[in-house]
Symmetry: C2
Subunit: 698 residues, 2 copies
């Protein structure tokens, strides 16, 4: 679906135009205030003029064709108006009306279905319903239902939001500028993913900024995010649902698929999408990307401040938020010692003292010196820019910054205040024009800078972006395979497993045991018994034939006694491998995004501390290493306190192989669970395994 | 030292008054603008008038006595002026001059010492040097070196800061109001702890707000914080040094004792001091306490918002920051269902939808309903108050809030915006006057609310505040005791230990082993060998007399071979206790605050994850439980995955006993290390122990 007629119309009509307060009146006011003369018509059967401009009785009466109609009318006449608009050439429409799905009634659902059908028939791309419209700033198109303070908001952040209220809040911030701001409403025709695609493709948009509650079209979302990653256009997303309460709300509010929040994180992380926590982070992160003329080459920062107290705050909050301050080189330190007063002791973060800030040339020298340090990717100047300039330091600092950022090889520069405040609009505009990003106070600022660092570290090539999305025909069954069946499936893909066979008699058990070598583990073999230990179905450390015989019988008896209905295949005889460091490798199929692969350290780390990493399949080798690295407990694999480092390469291999198996069976395998898998100094080996699928696979 | 003449003077003189830009001129301007006529004199030998007011040639010429002198002069004449001021009755002085300790030169140190001596001789309480002065808002005293925007800043937050720059930033925020704001400078005479004491005692100050880099007088700090805790006056502290880089900066900047940051946390936590991360948190936390008319009875919150998107942000950010949203009772839910539109689904956080916000009476009903819920301690309304009121909702909401908070049994109320912004000053003033705290955007706001919750949870009675501060005569020695000596010391205090004795011969070793019962552990016994295992000095699981004899000799030989110079007492024979869950209990003596007690789970949790809790001795029983509870790994003690819960009571006892021992020996014991101590389903037992002291204690 092309959205050009909806979002870049040459002519629009506003149906229900009037002069009162409310959607129709305010849309009319916005058109007059912001849109070029002749680019909009007013339509209202009961008026001949609106604010002194001609008003037509109906769409049919318009003197020329239109690209798009804004319907400021009640729900009951919307479909009829869409037909009329289509007859006049419209390919897009904005529908403000409520009374659809969001009403939560049968009538609402019926209205939604009728709207969809009309849209399909007419080919009109409908925004909404139950939305506030949009603004196209570069094109001066303003079909928007609310008034806000008059101010130049044209910029390069393309924003789409499932909440109209949040759109309005962003427009109210004097610190944000847009290419588009779109209140998407119910998204019953044009969906979030369609708007995102438009913005990723749009040349006026440098940053795509999104508030989403859920996803309707996972396939499209993946396509759009992949494209953005490939062309390196930043996508910043605020998505509800990080907490359980937030997830319930998101599910309830728009009826979107809220999905598992960890799966969304996995989607975002695969495509380098920046996920933020609130509107303020969304605003500042987006605007920072829009203002910066180039990205840092390294994800490291230098902090330059005018006082020790401020420098301490930067050191502490930066470190808490995970921002990296490299040490300055000896060369930088030597130069700074020349520039700064004798009592200053240069380091990063840097307390410059206030002296240099009243001398443009010297301040520029200090900036150049810090920027020139090979360890530094970006410079952050701490300075609280007030609306009323009381301290004149900025009069000297601003020209220095403007000068230095234009010099060849200059690195990105940002400015951060220490208290939230109004800020001087002239200096703010000057600095942003020079490419200096203006940040919020420290706790927010350092989050924003960490997002930037993460974005700088992201490489599309490290990720396998061919997501194994679910096919059309996924079975409904759910079949657990026994340990031996599961291992048979896993063995085909080359996952390292313990040697084992199913014995149907004492004799067979002893035969296998002698062949594998002692010690031996024996386990009941049945797809119907998942918790084998609980029923006395497992015996470890058997050392000779006599023990094997004895336990063959005991295990079978225990199983028959506790699970009389279970289908029992025999007893699994298995060589007992030495204990290593336990990990869990698992797969769970997400209904929207297909298989996801999980890794975590066994024992308490997964269970008590939830220290796990999740990646959308297919998992590339680099993604597998990144998963392992992201575990807090991974330090236990890396040679902790003098113990030898374990075979992380083999673990990464195993993760990739499990991922390959999940992708190859994406519409049948529901779960894979290798628990425990032991990691050794050389190699890994899974001691137990379960595969669950939509049907029996062996 | 009384600070009344310094901080509450009836008459002051400004020495170096003039009309130019700079400290002298700006202090004169501030005096004229803010101070009552007749409460200040100007002094300057080269002027007869300043801004049309009479100016005296010297302090001696003043027509009346003064309480305080502001010296806007260079360093070299300060001491002489202090003598003159003393002769005119002054008991306080503000010294702006720099050129003291902060210069980092020998001359600077000499100047500092001379200033101290003059202050001592004259009895003058000197603020500074190298400071920006202070403002006493209720008393209209304004000896302050900088100009800032003219605005009513009178409030009840008493602020003292070691950074003048940070004072200025706080004054620049339109959202903050003060009783006092004090730029303490070098604190060479009057120290931070003195100002804090003044503010804790001051009736115009409801909240004490502090930026500190370090401590000069730990004893005074402890006294002041204890008093504040007892009278329940909130103390909010921004202290540099949370990160290593921040700690280096704090140490370098003012030459204060930066101390160990964890020890500061322990001090703050004992006295219920709120520690914040940056200036913005300091500002909003302090101002919230100042505005609120009463504290929540419970540390739980209800969040009420006008849209689903905003509600989701509150749910997610609140949960991430650890704010507790209790479920509403059935009664509340039923009432809300009546009040809200049919499609709303009430829960906490609550999406009220926008409908009620245009009806004062209904909005008040909803507020009352949520406030009345027995699970709720405080209500937070989400609403972005803009400077220009575009959406009129606030016109209906504000009167409702004003009405409800005045009703009997009303709970505290706050309002939180979703983007940082200017805010309408009239509504802001109205709401604050009604006791409604105005918060910053969510990421900050929920931190501030968590600080409030922590403060509400704090009970002075739970803490033993008789801190075992170091005595005057602490020895310089450092003597490690052998395991058996250490255990002898510990046994006196009743710490549960393994049974053990030192054998001097094979025969003795066997004798002890037979008496204790097998299995037996043997270890080399020497104060000079700390890492016994590394030199083959430990043998576990000895099962009979033959093994004991054999290992007695092997252990001695290993020790002699690896540590030929060690003094060896024999071999420690010890009953081998069963393994339990390992914990570490330790003491380390802080040079400023005396013994601190540490607990953590053994193995990887302390070493790899730094999951430890630290408490300033003496540790009360409640503090011991709180320490255990604060460990992330404590879930492993509490009956994890069906295993029986371990004896946390016995562990808490052990912590208290170790603390008692440390307190009783506060000037001799430097370290105690019980590692490992095993925790069982019943009881605890330390398997190894080291005591380090300034001298041999056995």
């Amino acid at each position: 679906m092309t959205l050009d007629k909806l979002l870049k119309p040459k002519k629009i009509c506003i149906v229900g135009a009037n002069e009162k307060a409310g959607f129709g009146g305010d849309t009319s006011r916005n058109a007059i205030r912001y849109m070029p003369e002749g680019s909009y018509y007013f339509v209202n059967p009961s008026r001949s003029e609106v604010f002194g401009k001609p008003c037509y009785e109906s769409i049919a009466d318009l003197p020329a064709d239109i690209d798009m109609a804004v319907l400021c009318t009640p729900q009951n006449i919307v479909n009829d108006l869409l037909l009329q608009a289509a007859a006049k050439g419209a390919g897009g429409a904005v529908v403000y009306a409520s009374g659809y799905r969001e009403a939560g009634t049968a009538q609402g659902i019926a209205n939604q279905n009728a709207l969809r059908e009309t849209a399909r028939k007419t080919g009109i791309a409908v925004m909404g319903p139950n939305c506030a419209g949009y603004v196209n700033y570069p094109g001066r198109v303003y079909p928007f239902a609310f008034l806000s303070e008059e101010r130049d908001r044209k910029g390069t952040v393309g924003m789409v939001s499932q909440s109209g209220q949040l759109c309005l809040s962003l427009m109210d911030s004097p610190n944000m500028r847009f290419s588009y701001i779109i209140s998407a409403g119910n998204c019953d025709v044009v969906q979030m993913e369609d708007y995102m695609e438009f913005l990723v493709d749009d040349e006026d948009t440098q940053v795509v900024s999104v508030y989403m509650e859920g996803v309707r079209n996972p396939k499209k979302l993946v396509q759009v995010l992949k494209k953005a990653a490939e062309i390196r256009k930043p996508v910043v997303v605020l998505k509800a649902g990080r907490s359980e309460k937030g997830q319930n709300l998101a599910a309830g509010h728009t009826g979107s698929l809220a999905g598992s929040d960890q799966v969304f994180d996995a989607v975002f992380s695969k495509f380098g999408v920046i996920r933020v926590n609130d509107l303020e982070e969304l605003l500042y992160t987006s605007q920072m990307f829009a203002v910066m003329k180039n990205l840092p080459q390294k994800p490291t920062f230098a902090s330059m401040n005018l006082s020790g107290g401020e420098t301490g705050i930067c050191a502490d909050v930066g470190s808490l938020e995970g921002v990296e301050y490299p040490d300055f080189t000896e060369k930088t330190l030597a130069k700074l010692k020349e520039l700064l007063p004798a009592y200053a002791s240069p380091s990063n973060p840097l307390d410059m003292t206030a002296t240099l800030s009243y001398d443009t040339e010297k301040y520029a020298q200090a900036l150049r010196c810090v920027m020139g340090d090979e360890n530094v990717g970006m410079v952050v100047v701490g300075y609280t820019l007030l609306e009323e300039i009381a301290d004149p330091a900025i009069e000297y600092m601003a020209p220095a910054m403007e000068m230095v950022v234009k010099e060849p090889g200059a690195k990105p520069l940002a400015m951060m205040p220490f208290v939230g405040n109004t800020r001087n609009p002239q200096y703010a505009a000057r600095l942003e024009a020079a490419g200096v990003a203006l940040l919020p106070p420290p706790v927010y600022a350092f989050k924003v800078l960490r997002y930037l660092a993460d974005y700088v570290k992201y490489r599309a090539d490290d990720h396998d972006m061919n997501v194994a999305l679910p096919g059309d025909a996924v079975g409904k069954g759910r079949v657990a395979h026994s340990e031996s069946e599961s291992k048979e499936l896993l063995a085909k893909y080359g996952i390292p497993l313990t040697q084992s066979s199913v014995a149907k008699s004492e004799e067979e058990a002893v035969g296998y045991a002698e062949a594998f070598g002692y010690p031996i583990v024996m386990k009941i073999e049945s797809a119907d018994i998942l918790h084998k230990s609980d029923i006395g179905g497992v015996k470890l450390k058997l050392q000779n034939a006599g023990e094997v015989r004895r336990w063959y019988n005991i295990i079978l008896e225990n199983a028959k006694r506790h699970c009389p209905d279970a289908a029992i295949n025999g007893v699994l005889v298995q060589h007992m491998i030495p204990y290593g460091t336990e990990v869990i490798v698992g797969v769970k199929r997400d209904a929207d995004f297909g298989p996801t692969v999980l890794v975590g350290l066994g024992g308490v780390f997964v269970e008590a501390f939830k220290d796990t990493a999740l990646c959308l399949a297919p998992v590339s080798r680099k993604e597998a290493y990144a998963m392992i690295d992201s575990l807090k407990s991974s330090k236990l694999l890396k040679g902790y306190r003098g113990s030898a480092p374990l075979d992380i390469d083999a673990l990464a291999d195993a993760i990739v192989v499990v991922s390959n198996m999940a992708v190859a069976n994406k519409d049948t395998i529901l779960e894979i669970d290798l628990n425990p898998m032991f990691v050794y100094e050389k190699g890994v080996c899974a001691a137990d395994a379960v595969v669950v699928a939509t049907r029996r696979l062996v």
